[in-house]
C-alpha cells in the first residue's frame, strides 16, 4: 500500500473516516467526456479564490459551490465566478460536501481544519485538491494518512497544493536525482526566508475566533506556525530527493522581532537540523521577519553533483530543464481535472501527510529544543491541535508562545534523544 512502512492507519485516524460510502463510485469516471467537472471551494480566502479562478479557466470545469465561515469571503467570489451556491458558517463545509452537484472540492480553508475536512470529503466521495500543509499536528497527519488510504480504495483523486509535486521542472529533476544524477546526497539545505510578515489587523467588533481565523498565520492552533504554513513546500523537496523522511530532528527558534499582539503566538524564525537516513544532516531555515534577506529554495549536494531540486543539475550529469514553465497551482488543478475526466485517479496523500509531519517535527523540536527521533515522536506523542467540532465564533484566549523547557506534550520523547555518536 505504501512505499514505506511509516504509515500506520492508527486507531485514532481510522475512527475519523468510517465505513465506505454507499454511493461508492457515483461520480468516479466521467463516461461522458463532455460532462463538466463540478468544483466546490471550501475556504474562500486568498488561496481559495486563486484556486477557484484557476479552476474556472480550465476547460470542462465549473465552480458550483462555495463555502466559508465568513459571509464577506464568499460574496466577492460568488459574484466574480457566478456561483449559484454559497454557504456560510462553521457548518458550510459539511453542507457543501453533501451537495450532489459537486464532484471535487478545493480544501483551501485555514490549515487547522484541513484534516477533518479532508476525511469528510473522502467520506462524501469527493475528489480533493488538498492545500498544503495537509495537517499541522500529529493527530491531523494520522487523519490525513487514513483518509488518503481510503481515497485510494474509493478510487478518488487527491492532488496536493505542495508547489513541487505538479511542476514538471521539479518532477523531471527528481526523476534524475532518483536515478543517481548527483550520486548519493551528502548535504542538503532548504529555505523559506520570506522576509515579510503579513498579520491581519484586528477588528474591534469581531470575536476572538473570527479575528484569529482572519489572521490565522499568527496563531499556532490555526496555522501550525509558519514552518507548517509555508516551509512545508521546501521540506517536501528534501523528503522527495532523499526518498525518505528524516530520522531525527533538532531545532532552534524564537519570537525575536515580532512580539506584538498581531503576531499572536507564533515564532518568527526556525533554524532546524533534519537528519535523514545514514545520518545525512540537512539545514532548514525559515523566517518571516520584515526587512530580512529573502531566500526561498533548496540545494542538494551529492557525491557526483549539485541540484536546486527544481530544474538544474550541475556536475558529472549536468542538465537543465527546458520544458514549459507552469504555474504549479494551475497544473495541480489541471491534473486533478484530467484524472477525474479520464478515470485514472492520482493520489498525493502520502507526500502531503509526510511533508506536514516533517514540518510538525521541526516545530515541536524548536519549541522544546529537544532533539528526538521521528520514530519515538510518532510512537508516543499524543499531540493534537485538531479544532473542536463544535467551534463557534466567540472568545478564544491566546496561549503564550512556546517556551523551551516548560513546553512539552504528553508522550514527548524527552529521554531518548537520538543523540549522535
Amino acid at each position: 500500500m505504501t512505499r514505506r512502512s511509516f504509515v500506520k492507519t492508527g486507531a485514532v485516524a481510522a475512527a475519523g473516516a468510517t465505513a465506505l460510502s454507499a454511493h461508492l463510485g457515483h461520480h468516479l469516471v466521467f463516461a461522458d467526456a463532455n460532462a463538466k467537472v463540478r468544483i466546490g471551494v471550501i475556504g474562500c480566502g486568498k488561496r481559495g479564490a486563486e484556486a477557484a479562478r484557476a479552476c474556472a479557466k480550465i476547460e470542462g470545469v465549473q465552480v458550483t459551490a462555495l463555502a466559508d465561515v465568513f459571509q464577506d469571503q464568499v460574496d466577492a467570489l460568488k459574484a466574480e465566478l457566478k456561483v449559484a451556491n454559497a454557504l456560510v458558517g462553521f457548518d458550510a463545509a459539511a453542507k457543501l460536501l453533501a451537495l450532489k452537484d459537486v464532484d471535487a472540492v478545493l480544501l483551501t480553508s485555514v490549515s487547522a481544519f484541513r484534516p477533518q475536512q479532508f476525511a469528510a470529503a473522502i467520506e462524501a466521495g469527493k475528489h480533493v485538491f488538498l492545500e498544503a500543509p495537509a495537517a499541522i499536528c500529529l493527530a491531523g497527519v494520522r487523519m490525513v494518512q487514513a483518509a488518503a488510504a481510503k481515497a485510494g480504495e474509493k478510487k478518488l483523486s487527491v492532488v496536493t497544493g505542495l508547489n513541487g509535486r505538479h511542476d514538471p521542472a521539479c518532477i523531471e529533476t527528481m526523476k534524475r536525482i532518483r536515478d543517481g544524477a548527483i550520486g548519493t546526497i551528502q548535504s542538503a539545505q532548504c529555505y523559506s526566508n520570506v522576509g515579510v510578515a503579513e498579520p491581519v489587523r484586528k477588528q474591534a467588533h469581531a470575536s476572538d475566533v473570527e479575528n484569529q481565523m482572519r489572521n490565522y498565520r499568527s496563531y499556532v492552533w490555526l496555522s501550525g506556525d509558519h514552518i507548517c504554513d509555508r516551509h512545508v513546500n521546501n521540506l517536501d523537496i528534501l523528503n522527495w530527493a532523499f526518498n525518505a523522511l528524516p530520522d531525527s530532528v533538532h531545532g532552534l527558534g524564537s519570537r525575536q522581532c515580532h512580539k506584538g499582539e498581531e503576531y499572536g503566538n507564533v515564532y518568527d524564525h526556525f533554524g532546524i537540523e533534519y537528519a535523514y537516513p545514514n545520518d545525512i544532516r540537512t539545514i532548514s531555515m525559515c523566517r518571516t521577519i520584515e526587512g530580512t534577506e529573502e531566500r526561498i529554495g533548496e540545494r542538494l549536494a551529492g557525491t557526483k553533483g549539485v541540484s536546486n531540486g527544481r530544474g538544474v543539475i550541475e556536475g558529472a550529469n549536468a542538465w537543465k530543464y527546458d520544458g514549459p514553465k507552469v504555474d504549479p497551482l494551475v497544473q495541480a488543478l489541471t491534473d486533478l481535472v484530467k484524472a477525474i475526466q479520464t478515470g485514472t485517479p492520482v493520489n498525493d496523500g502520502q507526500a502531503a501527510a509526510e511533508s506536514a509531519l516533517t514540518a510538525v517535527l521541526g516545530r515541536e523540536s524548536a519549541y522544546s529544543r529537544l532533539q528526538f527521533k521521528r520514530s519515538a515522536f510518532e510512537a508516543k506523542c499524543t499531540q493534537s491541535l485538531l479544532p473542536p467540532q463544535d467551534l463557534k465564533l466567540g472568545p478564544m484566549p491566546v496561549k503564550p508562545p512556546a517556551m523551551p523547557g516548560p513546553y512539552v506534550w504528553e508522550g514527548f520523547p524527552t529521554g531518548e534523544g537520538g543523540k549522535k555518536k
Partner: protein, 443 residues
C-alpha cells in the same frame, strides 16, 4: 551556486595569508626567551580559565616560572597567587612579588611593561585586541584564550598585532586547543590530502546549558559589575557563538583551510531570563530603583542557527546556544568520497582511525608554544584565530540583522566597533546595548 565555483581550490585565505607570508622572517629573532633559560610567565585575567591556563602553561615546560598576575580586581590577583603557592605541582616556580600584582582597567599595560617573557591572556574577550597589541609592542610572547575579539575592529587589531609579532619574532598561540590535538592534526592532513574527496557539507555544534550570573559586590561600579558579568554582554563576550562555539567554527574553517565566503544566520533569545537577579542588581546600583532593570539581563541571544558557504560552494551548518533541551558539541564533515567526525576518524571509500598518543590539547597547546619559543621558531596563530573569530562574529551579525553577509564585506567594509575606547574604561557607568531584534541595520 554554480558548479564552476565548486571546482578548484577550497583554499581561501586570500590577502591576509599573502601579507603574513611577506612579513614572515622579515626581522631577526631578538627575543631573549630563546634557548634554555627560564621563561617568566605573567597571567592577565585571574578568573577560572586564567587559573587553568597558567597551570597548563607551567606544566607545558619545566623551565617556566610565574612572576606576575593582573586582573581588573585586586582581590582576584591575591586569591590566584595564594592558590598557586599552595599548588604542590609547581613548588618553587611561583615567584610573584607584591609589586607584580597588577589591577585596574589598565592592568594589561602594567603587566606588558613588567619583566615577563610570556603573557597568558584570559580576561573578558572584548579587551583582547588592545591587550594583545600592548603585549606584542612590549616584546612579549602570548598565549591567548579564545575568542580574541568581540567585534570586527577587534579582529583587525589582532591581525595587526599578529603581523607585528611576525616581524618581532614573537609567538602567539590561541586556546583553540583542537588545533593541537594530535588525532585531529593527523586527520586534517588526510582530509586536506583528499581522503574523503571534495568537501560538500558539514555541521558544527555547541548547544549547552545556561551560564552563571553574578550579583553586585560591595563598592562595585556598574562597569566593574558588567565586566564581571561579561558573558551576558556582546561587546564583552561576543555572544555565545563567538565565546564558545568558536571552537567548532574554527574546526569547520580548518576543514576548508579558510573562512567562509558567505554567511546566513538567524537567532534569538527565548529563554534567558535573570529578572529577579537583574532587578536586585538594578536596586543596588541605582539607589533602590528598579527602573530600567532590563538592561542588567544582558543582551546576548540564546540560540543562533547559521550557514557557512565556503569557497567551493559547500554549505555547512552551525548550531549554537544555551538553554533547555539536548546538548550538542562537535563537528562532522562530508566529502564526495566519505565523511569524518573531525576528531580522528573518517569513513567511506577509505577508512582510517587515529591510533597514536593523544595528549590533552589544552596542555599540548602550551607545550607547542613553549617549544616553539625555545627553538627560535615561534608559532603565530594570530591571523588564523582572528579569521575564525571573525567568522563567528559574521554569523552573529547575520543573525542580528537578518542579512546574508560576505567575507569581503566583513573584512573590507564593516565598521563595527563595539568596545569603548580605553580612556572610557574606569569605574563608573556601564555600556549597554539593546537585545538585537533580528532585523537590525548593518553597520
Amino acid at each position: 551556486m554554480g558548479m564552476s565555483e565548486k571546482k578548484g581550490s577550497s583554499i581561501g585565505r586570500g590577502a591576509l595569508a599573502a601579507t603574513t607570508l611577506a612579513l614572515a622572517g622579515a626581522m631577526a629573532n631578538k627575543v631573549h626567551a630563546k634557548g634554555s633559560g627560564i621563561i617568566k610567565l605573567g597571567l592577565l585575567g585571574c578568573g577560572g580559565r586564567g587559573n587553568g591556563a597558567i597551570r597548563q602553561c607551567l606544566a607545558g615546560d619545566p623551565g617556566t616560572e610565574v612572576v606576575a598576575l593582573a586582573d581588573l580586581f585586586e582581590g582576584k590577583t591575591r586569591g590566584t597567587r595564594d592558590g598557586l603557592m599552595k599548588d604542590g605541582n609547581f613548588k618553587g616556580r611561583v615567584k610573584i612579588d607584591d609589586d607584580h600584582l597588577f589591577s585596574g582597567f589598565d592592568c594589561h599595560e602594567k603587566i606588558a611593561a613588567s619583566d615577563v617573557d610570556l603573557i597568558c591572556m584570559a580576561t573578558a574577550p572584548g579587551f583582547r585586541g588592545r591587550q594583545l597589541m600592548a603585549a606584542i609592542k612590549a616584546g612579549k610572547h602570548v598565549f591567548t584564550e579564545k575568542p580574541v575579539a568581540t567585534d570586527v575592529a577587534g579582529c583587525k587589531e589582532v591581525i595587526e598585532a599578529s603581523k607585528l609579532a611576525e616581524q618581532k619574532g614573537l609567538a602567539i598561540v590561541c586556546g583553540t586547543q583542537r588545533r593541537h590535538e594530535m588525532s585531529r592534526v593527523e586527520l586534517f592532513k588526510r582530509i586536506h590530502a583528499g581522503e574523503i574527496g571534495e568537501l560538500v557539507g558539514g555541521q558544527c555544534y555547541w548547544y549547552g546549558g545556561g551560564i552563571w550570573y553574578h550579583g553586585v559586590d560591595a563598592n562595585q561600579s556598574e562597569l566593574e559589575w558588567q565586566c564581571k558579568n561579561w558573558y551576558h554582554f556582546t561587546w564583552l563576550s561576543g555572544d555565545q557563538i563567538c565565546e564558545q562555539h568558536i571552537h567548532n567554527i574554527d574546526v569547520m574553517n580548518w576543514c576548508f583551510n579558510g573562512p567562509p565566503r558567505k554567511i546566513t544566520a538567524m537567532g534569538g533569545r527565548q529563554t534567558r531570563d535573570y529578572s529577579n537577579q537583574a532587578k536586585e542588581v538594578c536596586r543596588k546600583l541605582n539607589k533602590g530603583s528598579e527602573q530600567g532593570w532590563e538592561k542588567y539581563n544582558g543582551d546576548i541571544y540564546d540560540h543562533i542557527t547559521a550557514e557557512f558557504e565556503y569557497a567551493n560552494g559547500a554549505r555547512c551548518m552551525s548550531f549554537s546556544g544555551h538553554g533547555p533541551g539536548q546538548g550538542r558539541n562537535g563537528e562532522k564533515i562530508l566529502g564526495t568520497k566519505g565523511a569524518s567526525d573531525c576528531q580522528g576518524r573518517y569513513w567511506g571509500e577509505k577508512e582510517w582511525r587515529y591510533q597514536g598518543p593523544n595528549p590533552d590539547g589544552m596542555l599540548q597547546e602550551h607545550v607547542d608554544l613553549l617549544k616553539s619559543i625555545r627553538d627560535g621558531k615561534p608559532l603565530n596563530e594570530g591571523i588564523r584565530i582572528a579569521e575564525s573569530c571573525l567568522t563567528a562574529i559574521g554569523a552573529r551579525i547575520a543573525a542580528y540583522t537578518g542579512k546574508t553577509i560576505t567575507w569581503d564585506w566583513l573584512i573590507n567594509e564593516c565598521k563595527q566597533n563595539l568596545v569603548p575606547p580605553q580612556e572610557k574604561m574606569k569605574p563608573g557607568p556601564g555600556f549597554f546595548y539593546p537585545i538585537p531584534t533580528g532585523n537590525e541595520k548593518l553597520m
